[in-house]
Subunit: 323 residues, 2 copies
C-alpha cells in the first residue's frame, strides 16, 4: 500500500501528464499554469483515500481525483476575477497574468476538462459519480454567491456563515470523498458517513484558515491580519460582532477603513476586541468540535481500522499545521 | 408525429418547467432570464429531430435537448462579458443587467445545470453522450478563443476563418445532432453523417449571418452594417481582403475608424469595395455550396425519407429566412 506521501506524488504525476490540447495557446496555457501551481491536492487525496478504504483498485479513481482538482482550480480562476485577486499561491493569478477574458474562457475550458476526466471513470459508476459531481459543483457556485452577497450584507449570522463555508469549502471535500467511496464500491451508508466526515473536516479547515489569518505563525511567511484589513466577514469577525458591546462593534465595523490608523493599528484595534471576548478560544473550540465530529464519522465506518488509518492520518496532518 | 412547430413548443415548455433552485437569487435569476429570452432553439431542435429519425422515443431526448440549449445560453452569458455586449436578443444582456461577476458565476452555474440535465439521459447512453458533449463544449471554447485572437491578428485567411466558425458555431450543432442520433439508437456511420450535415449547415448558417449583416433586409428590424462599423473580420471582409487591390484594402482596413466619416459613409465605403469584387455573390456561392453538402448528407442517411423529412424541412426553413 502507498504511503500518503507516495499517493501525493502519484496525484502530482498524474496531473502533470494529463494531456490538454496545445492550441489555441491562450486557452490552454493558463490551465497548465494553474495546475502546476501546487497546493495540497487536498481534494484528490480525499478521492484516493476514500476509495482505498474499500478497494485495492485505487488506480481507477485517479481520473476522478484529477477531475476534482481541475474543477477546484477552475473555481480559483474565476474567483480571482470576481475578487480582483492578483496573487495566487505566491504567483500572479491567471487573471493578473493573462487578463480577464483569458481567465473567464480558460476557466470555462477547465471546467469542461474536469468533466472530460470524470467521464473516464468505469462506466458502471458513471451515472452516480456524475450526479454527485454535478450537485457538488452547483453548491460550490452557491457558496461563492453567498460569499459575495455577504460583502454588501450588513449583518451576517454565525449560522449563515457556517452555511456559506459548508457550500463554498466543505461540499467539494464531501463530493471528493463520496466519489472516492463510490469508486471503491462502498455501500450508500458508508458514502453518507464519509460525506459527513468531509463536511465537518471542511468546516474545521475553513475556520482554522480564518483563525490563522489573525493568530497564525508569522514565520510561515504569510503576513497576518489580511482579512482584518479587508474588513472580511470571517468566523472571528462574526463571532466577535455577536458578543461585543455596541462600542466594540463600532471598532469591528469601522477600524479597518479608518484613514487615521496604520495597518498595524487597525489590526491591533480589532484583535483587542477579539481578545476581550475570547474569540480565539471560541474559534478553537468550534474547530475542535468539528474536527472531533469528523473523526467520529471515520471511526463509525464499517471497515477495518488499518484501512481507514491513511485517511485518518491525512486529516490529522491537515489540521496539525497550526501546532 | 409532431410537426416542427409542435416540437418547438414542446422544447419551450420543457425549458420553462425545468427546475432551477431558487436560492441564492442572484445566482439563479440570470439563468431563468437568459433561458426565457427566446431564440430559435436551433440546437435542441437538432437533438430532437435527429433522434426522431431513428426512434419514436424522442421524449427521452428532451433532457439532452435542454442541456445543449442551456449550454448554448451559458456561452452567450460569458461571450457578452468578453465582447462587452450590452444587448442580447433585443434585451439587456445578463452582463449589463446584473454586472460582470453575476454573469461569470451564473454562467458557471448554468454550465453545471447543462451537465445536470445531460446526466438524466438513459444510463446506457450516458458514456457516449457525455463524451460527445465534452468534446463539443471544449471545441466551442477553442472557437471563442480563436475569434478573440483574430481581433488583434492582422491577417486572417479564409481557411482560418472557416476553421474558427466551424468550432464556434458548427460544432455545437454537430454535437446536438450526434447526441440526438445516439439517443435514437443510430449506428455510428449514421452519427458521422449527421455530424457532417450539421457542420455544413452551421457553416452555411454562420456565413448567412455574416451576409445578412451587410445585405439583409432592413425591414427585419436589425440595422445593417454593424459588423462593418466594428471592423469585424467576417467572411465578407476576409474574402474582400483576399481579392482587393492595395488601395481598396486600405479602405477595408481603415474606413471603419476614420473620424471624418459618418457611420453611413463608412458602411457605403466598405460595401462599395465588396461590390467591386462581388463579395456578395462569392458569399452566396459558399452558402449554397455548404447547404447543398449538408442536404446531401441527409439524403445519404440509411433511413426512410419521410423520417428524415422533418429535419430536412427544418434546415430549409432555417436557411430560408433570407429569401
Amino acid at each position: 500500500m502507498q504511503t500518503n506521501e507516495e499517493l501525493f506524488l502519484t496525484i502530482e504525476n498524474y496531473l502533470a501528464q494529463t494531456d490538454f490540447p496545445g492550441e489555441p495557446e491562450l486557452l490552454y496555457a493558463p490551465i497548465c499554469y494553474s495546475l502546476a501551481g501546487g497546493g495540497k491536492r487536498l481534494r484528490p487525496m480525499l478521492v484516493m483515500l476514500a476509495c482505498g478504504i474499500y478497494s485495492e483498485e485505487t488506480q481507477q479513481a485517479l481520473t476522478a481525483a484529477a477531475a476534482v482538482e481541475v474543477f477546484h482550480n477552475f473555481t480559483l480562476l474565476h474567483d480571482d476575477i470576481m475578487d480582483n485577486a492578483d496573487t495566487r499561491r505566491g504567483k500572479p493569478s491567471v487573471y493578473a497574468k493573462w487578463g480577464q477574458n483569458a481567465a473567464i474562457l480558460s476557466g470555462d475550458a477547465m471546467m469542461i476538462c474536469a468533466y472530460r476526466l470524470l467521464a473516464e471513470v468505469p462506466e458502471q459508476f458513471l451515472p452516480k459519480v456524475l450526479k454527485t459531481f454535478n450537485e457538488m459543483a452547483l453548491e460550490v457556485c452557491e457558496g461563492q454567491q453567498y460569499d459575495m452577497d455577504f460583502e454588501t450584507q450588513q449583518k451576517v449570522s454565525v449560522v449563515e456563515y457556517m452555511h456559506m463555508i459548508e457550500l463554498k469549502t466543505s461540499v467539494l471535500l464531501a463530493g471528493s470523498a463520496v466519489i472516492g467511496a463510490i469508486l471503491g464500491g462502498a455501500p450508500e451508508e458508508e458514502q453518507r458517513k464519509l460525506r459527513r466526515f468531509a463536511i465537518e473536516l471542511g468546516l474545521a479547515f475553513q475556520l482554522q484558515d480564518d483563525l490563522l489569518d489573525s493568530y497564525g505563525d508569522e514565520r510561515l511567511g504569510k503576513p497576518l491580519g489580511g482579512d482584518i484589513l479587508e474588513g472580511k466577514k470571517t468566523y472571528l469577525m462574526i463571532t466577535a460582532m455577536s458578543h461585543a458591546s455596541e462600542e466594540d462593534r463600532d471598532v469591528l465595523r469601522y477600524a479597518y477603513k479608518d484613514p487615521h490608523l496604520s495597518d498595524e493599528e487597525k489590526i491591533s484595534a480589532v484583535k483587542a476586541v477579539y481578545d476581550r471576548y475570547d474569540v480565539r478560544g471560541l474559534t478553537e473550540q468550534q474547530i475542535s468540535l468539528r474536527f472531533e465530529r469528523a473523526l467520529a464519522q471515520l471511526q463509525s465506518l464499517d471497515a477495518a481500522p488499518e484501512r481507514v488509518k491513511p485517511l485518518h492520518d491525512f486529516a490529522v496532518s491537515l489540521m496539525g499545521r497550526m501546532k
